[in-house]
């Protein structure tokens, strides 16, 4: 029983990282129908950036804040320089485009930070031991980041005027423009949210999982699988899906074989796509007027 709870705890903290990435993916998908392959690279970029800033002598909170802001800006910059330039942006084009962006970002990270994995110092706090189940304080930070950042984005979309406007421009772009919601602003905002969520995932996970230039793609794919579970439009479903994915991975590694761990996500992806052959991604397209 202790082992089961231990695996669950590890899975939940890992899943919270996937959840933040899934939230970022959905943010850009709902507004621009962009599947952003570079989403995971925002995480590694923020991780490596904050490591450099800490090494340069900045206090940890300041370094993290600077990294979060920089990566958010980088995401907006990518939107302005790449995504906004494309006239006929389909989901497929967005995948190809952002795959290019991802490759470019990885090359830059490799040149700047080198090939070796690096670690951000752990955030303050004490590790817990609840009846033999050990939980690192950093894992609580990871869950906390999901609650605050993920929850904050959820509230923003559902409760604020800006958030509702963003959703409106996603679902009815023409009508939204008529009532004065600028698609350009909506797009920038969506990428800012995606960049911020990805960066948050990167800085909270770096002290445990380390940051390495090439780590983004797999992370992004795990986030994508979670986002697909949420139909690529539902933040709530994606967050639940991400936590489920993390826990499932943990059980598979513990009870089956650790080598199967990374296969879980792809197995789920295939199952979902077979059960919903119309493609969960096609749904928003159909409601477009």
């Amino acid at each position: 029983m202790t082992d089961f709870l231990q695996l669950t705890a590890a899975g939940l903290s890992q899943g919270s990282v996937y959840a933040l990435l899934a939230v970022g993916l959905i943010a850009t998908y709902t507004v621009r129908h962009v599947v952003n392959i570079a989403q995971g690279d925002f995480a590694t970029l923020a991780g490596l950036g904050s490591i450099s800033l800490v090494t340069a002598g900045l206090p940890l909170p300041v370094a993290i804040l600077v990294a979060l802001i920089s990566v958010t800006l980088a995401s907006v910059l990518i939107e302005r320089l790449v995504i906004a330039r494309v006239k006929n942006l389909t989901t497929l084009v967005s995948i190809i485009l952002t795959l290019g962006v991802s490759t470019l970002l990885q090359a830059i990270m490799l040149l700047v930070w080198g090939a070796e994995a690096r670690r951000l110092p752990p955030f303050p706090g004490n590790d817990l031991n609840l009846g033999g189940v050990s939980i690192r304080s950093q894992e609580l930070w990871m869950l906390g980041a999901l609650v605050i950042v993920g929850g904050g984005i959820l509230l923003f979309y559902e409760k604020t005027r800006w958030g509702k406007a963003l959703r409106a421009s996603a679902e009815q772009p023409v009508a939204a423009r008529i009532v004065g919601i600028s698609p350009a602003v909506a797009s920038v905002l969506a990428f800012a949210i995606a960049g911020f969520a990805g960066a948050a995932a990167g800085v909270v996970s770096s002290p445990i999982y380390l940051s390495i230039w090439s780590g983004g793609l797999l992370l992004g794919l795990k986030g994508f699988v979670a986002a697909v579970l949420g139909g690529l439009v539902s933040f709530r479903a994606a967050i639940v899906g991400a936590l489920l994915l993390g826990v499932l991975e943990s059980y598979v590694a513990g009870y089956v074989a650790s080598g199967w761990k990374d296969a879980v996500a792809f197995f789920i992806l295939i199952i979902v796509l077979i059960i919903r052959p119309a493609g969960l991604m096609l749904r928003p397209e159909a409601v477009r007027v």
């Binding site: 231990q6 070796e116 031991n129 050990s134 380390l210 797999l218 991975e249 590694a253 650790s258």
Partner: protein, 400 residues
Amino acid sequence: MNRARRRRLLVPAAVAASIALALTGCNAANFGGGDDGGGDGATEEGPIKIGAVLDITGVGANLGVPEQNTLNMLADQLNEDGGINGREVELFIEDNQSTEDGAARATTQLIENEQVDLIIGASRTGPSLAMRPLVEAAQMPTISVAANAAIVDGSEWVFKTAQNDIVVLERILDDAESKGYTKIALARDATGFGEGIADIITELGAERGITLTATEAFEPSATDFTAQMTNLRAADADAVIIWGITPSAGLAQAAYVQIGVNKPVYQSHGVANAAFFEAAGPAAEGVLAPMGRLLVADQLEADDPQKEVIDQFIADYTEAYDAPPSSFAGHAYDAWKIGVAAIEEAGTDPEALRDAIEATSDFVGISGVFTMTPDNHSGLTADALIMAIAEGGRWNLYEE
């Protein structure tokens, strides 16, 4: 294959080769080597080409990057000193991205396109094993810098400079036996480096009254080790061996301490670098690992036969790269020096060069004192290893 058939194949091949040579402006003397008999004189011109296949990016980066640094530094030093017998040395370093197919591609590239005289690499066991059939078929003298004995077992053309895994495990199990441990649990790298480790422990353990009670595996790219460590905790052994490279072995160590297994840990020589401490953090404290003398050079006896070589290498490397070398840098150093000494003596004819490497005797290197024989292409004994303990953020000499 009959004679007429062979001729049909040979003619177009020869034409294609001539065209390729003419197009690339290659030195024809490098082509064909000693096959035509008596052509040796022709190969002894132009630069000497040494190729290297290293894990510069990917999971083996902590190994490949210092190895790349070392080879670049040694090649520069050698050329400043006038090269080998007056001939300049050209170094071709290929990144295999820590993959088997990358290593195979890079090897083919070095043999076919660069026509190198000697190959060094790869950094890890898996890629090294992928290179083996290629270099054996091409009769290319090759010195791997990876650990698993399978790389050189029964090989004709492949040598290696990292200490054999079996010798490392002997060291670990000797220490375990002396402390009265009877049950050992293992978490091993799921790639070539960890292949066969469980069998060796079972075999060597039987002589020492030690049984292997649990085996877990982890990918070198893994970041979460909770599952494996939870299972090790349930195994209830007297001690645990974590067998992998940094950073994964370091992350496993961190998870091990976090989960609270609370048993002594042995690690392999795959963690013989400072990066282990970055990955494991405070969890590194107290870990024992057999390794070469490089990382504890400042604690060696003054009369240690390797001390002078090691001190010089540390000084040179630190000056060039502003950071101390790792054991993996040392493996590259040994491969380079053994290879260069053999070329100096025998030239670049593949057969002669191979024989010269095989005749390496009492070579004082970083990872130990090498004596190769036709049956032993690794050349190191258990004396090459010391037991090190992780204390205060560095490796220290362990007094039993």
